[in-house]
């Protein structure tokens, strides 16, 4: 019986197409995504149907899972003013050099009375070891912080300030922590602020789904 000759084919595949796909995907990801902003600590915010994007420049209060509170002053133009304001009003006695150093630190995560010592400390405490800003009802330092923020922004567009005030909390943060933050806002006569959430689609069939609002304020 004559053997059937199977023609030997090369195993080389043309990689051009695959290369195209890879780089197409790559460019998509570069363009469609955003670099993660530096985060104090990882928090998973709850979901909401709100579709407004959170602003990049913000005064962000972060509530971690274990109930610690951190403050991030994202607006570089006013950061120095806020910090020097709280320095004078709360009598922190920081030297100009210390104040300069403080402006460079990304966030605040310690009680006011520990700030001077932490600025002079040789070893930088990692964020997850910081005690956080106390917000108990007896000693709510967030009230002082928000007062300094409002006075630094006095005379500017208050609506812009309200848009910048963000609260970002972890899903499992207990409610009283959030209540203390609300209290701190209220004490400074700020009744509008915003909460950072992860986006979620509106459930089908709900009223919001059937009659979407024309303009959300």
């Amino acid at each position: 019986m004559p053997k059937v000759k199977i023609p030997r084919k090369s195993t080389n595949i043309d990689m051009t197409a695959m290369c195209d796909v890879a780089f197409l995907l790559l460019s998509f990801f570069i363009l469609a995504t955003k670099q993660k902003p530096p985060e104090v600590l990882t928090v998973t915010p709850p979901a909401s149907v709100s579709s407004k994007a959170a602003p990049d420049k913000s005064i962000l209060i972060t509530l971690t899972q274990d109930g610690k509170t951190f403050l991030m002053l994202g607006d570089e133009t006013r950061k120095a003013a806020i910090l020097s304001n709280i320095n004078t009003t709360k009598g922190l006695n920081l030297t100009p050099a210390e104040l300069n150093k403080w402006v460079k630190s990304p966030f605040v995560g310690q009680p006011l009375n520990q700030i001077k010592s932490s600025l002079n400390a040789s070893v930088v405490t990692p964020p997850n070891k910081l005690p956080g800003i106390p917000t108990d009802s007896t000693n709510n330092e967030m009230i002082d912080w928000i007062r300094s923020v409002t006075s630094a922004y006095a005379g500017t567009d208050q609506r812009k300030l309200q848009e910048m005030l963000l609260v970002k909390g972890d899903q499992s943060t207990l409610y009283p922590v959030f209540k203390n933050i609300k209290q701190a806002f209220k004490k400074n006569e700020i009744y509008k602020f915003r909460i950072v959430t992860s986006g979620e689609s509106v459930p089908a069939g709900s009223e919001l789904y059937l009659n979407p609002p024309k303009a959300i304020n």
Binding site: A22, Y175, K182, K186, K192, I195, T197
Partner: protein
């Protein structure tokens, strides 16, 4: 792996004495380039955030006696948030002798139907949802219920967050004990 295609493609005879120049293929092996591409993709996928976080508006009422709202009993629904994502609710005002009938427990999955049912059965002017969060409830619960209000298109001003009364705290802890929620 590199493929060297040196076939000069059929005997194209040139004149005698003309040496055949070796034709090198212009084909390059693209495998390493594909590898690099996918490596970069994975890098970008891990270091970036796809979904932009959104911001939800919060409007707090002013804490003064003048703006105290009087709510009609017939239009009020009180939603209480307990620990372990438990939700309790009652309509109107709690009456001492009817506590067990009034005070009911539910979950976040079912609360939407109850909110919508209440909205449909009540004239909009009387409608009021009172939200009370327990000390053990989480931030997520508080946001979820506010989100539920916007999903059900409850107009602002018809729901409010209020502090819990001691009676309600006791009721919640009793119900939790009875239902074995720790």
């Amino acid at each position: 792996m590199a493929e060297m295609d040196t076939s000069s493609g059929g005997g194209h005879k040139k004149g005698p004495g003309v040496k055949k120049g070796k034709k090198l293929s212009t084909r390059v092996d693209l495998t390493p380039m594909v590898d690099l591409g996918f490596l970069l993709i994975t890098f970008f996928v891990f270091t970036t955030t796809m979904s932009q976080s959104t911001a939800m508006n919060m409007n707090e009422p002013k804490d003064d006696d003048k703006s105290q709202l009087l709510v009609r009993n017939s239009g009020a629904m009180t939603i209480l948030l307990g620990k372990n994502d438990q939700v309790y609710y009652y309509f109107g005002q709690l009456e001492v002798d009817k506590l067990s009938e009034q005070f009911k427990s539910t979950t976040f999955k079912q609360i939407r139907e109850l909110i919508v049912a209440k909205k449909k059965s009540t004239p909009i002017d009387n409608l009021m949802y009172i939200i009370k969060s327990d000390k053990k409830s989480t931030f997520k619960n508080a946001i979820d219920i506010l989100d539920e209000m916007s999903i059900c298109a409850i107009p602002p001003g018809h729901y409010a967050e209020v502090d819990m009364t001691p009676t309600e705290e006791i009721l919640i802890s009793k119900t939790e004990e009875a239902n074995g929620i720790k």
